[in-house]
Symmetry: C2
Subunit: 230 residues, 2 copies
DNA sequence: AAAAATCTGTGACGTACCTCACAGATTTCA
DNA sequence: TGAAATCTGTGAGGTACGTCACAGATTTTT
């Protein structure tokens, strides 16, 4: 083992790179699927949803990136790089934008940076894997519960009565994260509500019994650094 | 752009690392999900299936790694690394085994190597993304067709009458790759057979009309380096 | 404060797909 | 070469989940 822990990503390294801040107003897109990819970004403020549109008008949401999250980095190391997803600002947001060229140059010259960068990519892979496991192996219920757990680990605030998810979510939003439908999500949420597992006030959800969700989908208890949505 | 192409991974770099060859007999496991991960591997001979078991006895297969494929690399950069998947030899196989320590040391000291390594990881991410898109967004039909396309791009041999997939596959195998069931796969295959899209001789499939499969699932025409199963 | 837009909740119904069951074909192995 | 094991093909029936439709609640806009 070369370091005693890998968990602490030194995000400051990215800010030491030449780049510029960009603002994205709420509802605006930072980039669109298929566009030529010139930059990668570190989110500094706000919330950016990463997703894609499926052929028939549906939307699949994959991440909800917050401050410190790195986005758009998947396009590095490709010829004719294109963004794989859309990045939509859910709040007024700000990102630090770094061109692929600058990143690639540093990756070739600074082993410490490239080591850090690999940690980012590796976490990214493992997050996706754990997410897709849940989506594929446990039906729509598994997909929704998994999404709720990830939201807890990412936006949860501990309260006396449970974990308050501190970001607004509609049924449709949850459906997009779960590759499911609004109606289906609604029925599942009602069911959880009746059982007292969760409660909902407006667009904010409180989880009273996270363990119920975890055991129902046979959660592998992956570390909370991985089981996240950002 | 720092290089004029990224596509050619210099696999030889991995063999210049200190390591040793290991043999895995057909049916044996190179590693198991949850085991402490000490090594990563380059497949040198045979076929290694990467997958995992779901709680209820089902199996989800993710990759079918062949000579030159890198496997078990996802565990790098973690404290207490554990393999995320099983690796089962489908034929008598041989791998070149390199300890994580050796790899990590070189990653820190040799920017060229770490650049190469990032290309591997990046391709890995993009393969998984494109696979999961198909599995989630197009139902079981999409999942199966996607699997067939990937098998073509990985094991396909051009013949007069179409693309011959040069590896044996049972209905159950295809179901495992598609997060589906044997019966469901069988019915879909019969249907493709009746339409003349494919034909099957024993455990070998020939695809007569790859384009039919692609257009049916709204394939994004991702490059064949990405749309693979290895 | 009224109007418009968006979101929630729920019933009815259709379809995709899973499960079970079993016969026959094919492959493996002793 | 014959027995055992594995694989294929198919019907019947159940279940999860998507679709459609619409009323009422909530939020946003003007």
């Amino acid at each position: 083992m070369l370091k005693d822990t890998y968990s602490s990503l030194d995000i400051d390294m990215f800010f030491s790179l030449e780049g510029e801040y960009e603002n994205v107003p709420k509802g605006g897109y930072l980039f669109l699927e298929g566009q030529r990819a010139k930059n990668m970004y570190v989110v500094t403020e706000g919330l950016i949803k990463i997703g894609k549109f499926s052929g028939d008008g549906k939307e699949l949401s994959l991440r909800l990136a917050r401050s410190q999250s790195i986005i758009g980095e998947l396009t590095l190391f490709s010829d004719d790089p294109r963004y794989l997803f859309n990045a939509k600002a859910m709040e007024d947001s700000q990102v630090y934008s770094i061109t692929n060229e600058v990143v690639e140059k540093l990756l070739l010259s600074d082993p410490k940076f490239s080591f850090q960068f690999m940690i980012v990519m590796n976490e990214h892979i493992r997050k996706q894997h754990s997410k897709f496991r849940d989506l594929l192996l446990c039906g729509k219920k598994g997909a929704l519960y998994s999404t709720l757990i990830r939201l807890c680990n990412t936006f949860g605030i501990m309260r006396e009565d449970g974990i308050y998810i501190d970001t607004p979510l509609t049924n449709q939003d949850l459906a997009n994260y779960s590759a499911s439908t609004r109606e289906g999500v609604n029925r599942l949420l009602m069911n959880l509500r009746e059982k007292g597992i969760i409660s909902i006030h407006g667009k904010y959800i409180t989880i009273h019994d996270l363990n119920y969700l975890k055991t129902t989908i046979g959660c592998e208890d992956c570390p909370p650094t991985i089981c996240r949505i950002d």
